[in-house]
């Protein structure tokens, strides 16, 4: 999770916005001056400008605008006009009160914003914990269940049942390992701790290597127009991204249905398409799942955990300068990876 600094740096957008807001409020004060209590009324309008600026930009800009408002009040609305001199005691008192309230308001708004940030951060952490506890719990329950069943009943079980329990425990342990790998990768990507070291890589060969890692290899159909599609990639990382996408396609499509993997080449781009049948409901969940831990709620459907794998895949693909998009047509979901700067053998 990214830490939100207490006083983020102001951007040029913030400065421009602040100038527009304070100019608008000064104009309003000038326009309304003849209908207002001379000093206090204009001070209140300027105070409004300070608060609005702080809410829409950054606290540091709010402080600057508070000081700017005090100068504007002095120069434009107190006697003698258009000068820094002040004669009237009530106007001096109004200016002092304005400055105190304006700075206090900025401080208050800043504290509320910090509290909101801390709350959002805490909610994200809670969501992460919920995600972790659920996605680790299911395979762990399976491993424990398979092994304790084996231990308790082994004398009464057939050889086939014993093998089923042990193979189940191994498969679930591998699933857990894969999940933890994704979790580590997601953390590294989140903190920008990965520096890519790319090499020319054959995309078709990489797809084949990923496919053979699956038990249900027969469900994949690999199509390609040229034997070799070369891209620049850090192979183990891209392999993990493809594994996550292929795994997603396999798991969230009807049993026995075919997952189509296709490489396409144009003069300037290489594409990899992954297409599988699934329901509109699954598609909607997948579409929303590109943020790590995004799909957590009170839901415990089989789609829980999809977010992490897809988010990691999306981050790895993005790190390669490629794009990933998901579309839907004819009851199928299609992922398209577009590699921009590559070369073809």
């Amino acid at each position: 999770m990214n830490k939100i600094p207490s006083f983020p740096y102001a951007t040029s957008r913030d400065l421009v916005l602040a100038l527009i807001i304070i100019a608008a409020f000064i104009s309003a004060a000038i326009f309304l001056e003849k209908w207002l209590v001379p000093a206090a009324g204009t001070a209140l309008i300027l105070l409004g400008g300070v608060i609005v600026t702080t809410l829409l930009t950054k606290p540091i800009i709010g402080y600057a605008v508070a000081v700017m408002g005090a100068f504007a009040f002095n120069i434009l609305f107190t006697a003698p006009r258009y000068s820094l001199h002040m004669q009237e005691v009530d106007e001096i008192a109004t200016l002092v009160v304005f400055l105190i309230i304006a700075l206090g308001s900025v401080n208050l708004v800043s504290r509320i914003q910090q509290q909101n940030s801390a709350l959002a951060d805490a909610q994200l952490r809670a969501q992460l914990l919920l995600s972790l506890s659920h996605d680790i719990k299911t395979p762990l329950t399976s491993v424990l269940g398979n092994l304790t069943t084996f231990q308790s009943y082994q004398q009464r079980l057939t050889q086939h049942e014993r093998e089923e329990l042990i193979n189940g425990a191994i498969a679930e342990t591998e699933r857990l390992q894969h999940y933890i790998q994704n979790l580590l990768q997601a953390t590294r990507l989140e903190y920008g701790a990965i520096a890519l070291q790319t090499k020319p890589t054959d995309l078709v060969e990489l797809c084949r290597d990923v496919i053979v890692r699956f038990d249900q290899q027969e469900r994949f159909e690999l199509k390609y127009s040229v034997e070799s599609v070369m891209i620049d990639a850090q192979r183990p990382l891209l392999e993990q991204a493809l594994f996550n996408l292929f795994d997603n396609a396999l798991r969230y499509s009807p049993a026995g249905s075919i997952v189509q993997i296709e490489t396409l080449v144009t003069s300037s781009q290489q594409y990899l398409k992954i297409k599988n049948e699934n329901s509109e409901k699954d598609y909607q969940v997948i579409k929303q799942s590109f943020q790590p831990f995004a799909n957590q709620s009170s839901n415990d459907t089989k789609l829980a955990g999809t977010g992490l794998g897809l988010a990691v895949a999306a981050s790895i693909i993005k790190a390669h300068g490629a794009s990933l998009e998901v579309t839907r047509s004819h009851r199928s979901t299609e992922f398209t990876i577009r590699f921009e700067t590559t070369f073809i053998d």
Binding site: L130, S133, H134, K137, T138, P139, T141, S142, G145, N146, T148, T149, S152, Y153, R156, L157, E161, E164, L165, G168, A171, E172, S298, N299, D300, T301, K302, A304
Partner: protein, 92 residues
């Protein structure tokens, strides 16, 4: 004496696997389904005496199946779920 019949509805194949093996080892007659519709079909087909139900199913929510069964039967239903929601009044 006939074996008690248990219906287990869960979409996790490995969880179904060890529950089936242990229940059968204990002498229960065991039926399993990976979806709510599949669970409903088995419930209609056999005189089930206990249902173990997961709430996160691929086709319908487990609560859908629970309510549908409750319209016809008061068979005990044991809900297995990671869900953090209040208990349904139909759970027993």
């Amino acid at each position: 004496m006939e074996s008690p019949i248990i219906l287990f509805v869960d979409d996790e194949v490995r969880i179904r696997s060890f529950v089936r093996i242990s229940m059968q080892a204990e002498g229960f007659e065991f039926y399993e389904a990976s979806s709510a519709e599949g669970g409903w079909e088995l419930f209609k087909a056999f005189p089930v005496q206990l249902i173990i139900l997961d709430l996160g199913l691929p086709d319908h929510d487990g609560i859908w199946l629970l309510n549908r069964i409750r319209e016809e039967s008061s068979v005990p239903i044991l809900v297995l779920s990671a869900r953090l929601a209040p208990r349904s009044p139909n759970c027993s």
